[in-house]
Symmetry: C2
Subunit: 275 residues, 2 copies
């Protein structure tokens, strides 16, 4: 692991690091915020998965999360959203390839060699950060925005024993029915739609749910609502009697101005659940 940068932030340290990823076959960059409490022992962890076009940097610099994480004594991890680099396949579109890993393990050419973001987030990066930092493996929560909200929900419902708390901000909620999903699943997972189901939060909600209360926020003025499809997810959650809290918040769009506006609630939510 290489240290790219470390900056004092709200009494803790905002670090950016890189490492050679086996899963993604490239150098991967990620950010870790350690709150001041990490100087005295292991702290709980909140994974933050970012959306399309983002790197590790967007939420780290624009979401204001460090202030609340420092207050609550919870670490933040901001992974990248895909493999990157010259040897890594890409597409001209913003929503496929680099910056658009969709948190799945690709099985199709040319993506399969590098695009293993499900495994990377679930296994490889945790092994690294739990060995390098004062983080409590038994107290992990996960959240994310847009494509990252999709990743957070699908990972948490698939591995609830690992992610003891989950929330999502404007998640892609029903990707098998959306152009944010169908295109990418076809490319990464192939044409057999039965293989897509494990990566659709609405289907996982219908089939499994989550053993805890889920917090989901959504702006009512989000320009991508027709692609996000929160109505499918909340209907499935209510029909299942899944404990959850959903807020359609008036006037907010899909930007980080919105993400920053709800970040306090999400950090505190996870800190409370992981206490």
């Amino acid at each position: 692991m290489k240290t790219v940068s470390e900056n004092r932030s709200f009494g803790g340290v905002q670090g950016v690091y890189s490492h050679a990823s086996e899963a993604c076959k490239c150098e991967m960059t990620f950010a870790v915020y350690l709150p001041p409490q990490a100087e005295h022992g292991k702290v709980p962890v909140l994974w933050y998965l970012s959306g399309l076009t983002c790197t590790h940097e967007n939420a780290m610099t624009k979401a204001g999360a460090q202030a609340w994480a420092a207050e609550e004594g919870i670490a933040l991890i901001f992974p990248d959203t895909s493999p990157r680099g010259e040897g890594v396949p890409n597409d001209e579109a913003y929503d496929l390839g680099q910056g658009a890993g969709f948190y799945v393990d690709a099985t199709e050419a040319p993506w399969a060699a590098n695009f293993q973001m499900w495994h990377y987030i679930r296994h490889e990066l945790p092994e690294l950060v739990f060995s390098e930092f004062q983080l409590d493996r038994d107290r992990q929560g996960i959240t994310g925005h847009s494509m990252g909200g999709h990743g957070a929900l699908t990972l948490a419902m698939s591995f609830p024993e690992n992610y003891r708390s989950v929330s999502a901000i404007s998640p892609i909620a029903n990707p098998t029915k959306s152009d944010w999903g169908r295109k990418q699943f076809a490319a990464y997972l192939g044409p057999d739609e039965s293989k897509w189901r494990a990566h659709d939060a609405t289907i996982l909600m219908e089939e499994r749910g989550y053993p805890g209360t889920i917090l989901i926020d959504q702006g009512s003025a989000d320009q991508f609502l027709d692609l996000l499809k929160p109505e499918a997810l909340v209907a499935a959650a209510a029909a299942r009697r899944q404990p959850f809290e959903f807020r359609m918040i008036e006037g907010y769009d899909h930007s980080y101005f919105y993400v920053a506006s709800v970040m306090e609630d999400h950090v505190r939510w996870h800190a409370e659940n992981l206490r």
Copy 2:
């Protein structure tokens, strides 16, 4: 108007009153909580509509609402749920007739002569209480539990200029598709289902929505969830991009132990919206 009782409560006055209702053709009882702030001028109003089998008394005695209303300086009005008395039609079932007015104006025999609860809540009782108490007609909110949540949502979406704030606790959310609704609408409104639509919160959400944020709470262990159908309402609200907050709260049932547990949030919600 006759005073049945008045008791000091949290610095204000919890009163119970009765009057001869023109709409319901019987003596109707209702309760008003005036917070201490009403001694100094008009205060905002929160209408609380009760559920099946309830009178004005259940929420008044079991919901703990007065403490929060006193803090926030908001009045509470607890109407009865139907006409009552010897000359009023009834049914042996708990969910039809007395105690089960469903907040509609009946058009069918034998109910039409007395069961005019829509008009009573919307027009007759307001005329009385606004003339008798220090209440601000321009700052009214409405909430309710179960059948009363149905009433609150349908009244607010029908008369948003009157009810400037709305919430609901475990509302009957889609009565045209539920045995809590179809039976009563058939009895009160007749077999033409097109006349039922104006009293279904899910249909009103699809067709109109509400010009403000709606708060809806629901217990995940509610024994009547199959009759309440919150999944239809939240799907319609999310699809419409209606600003709203829905909480499926783990482990709570349909009782007043649950209602009391969320009452603070609802009173403060309305007080904030009506400021």
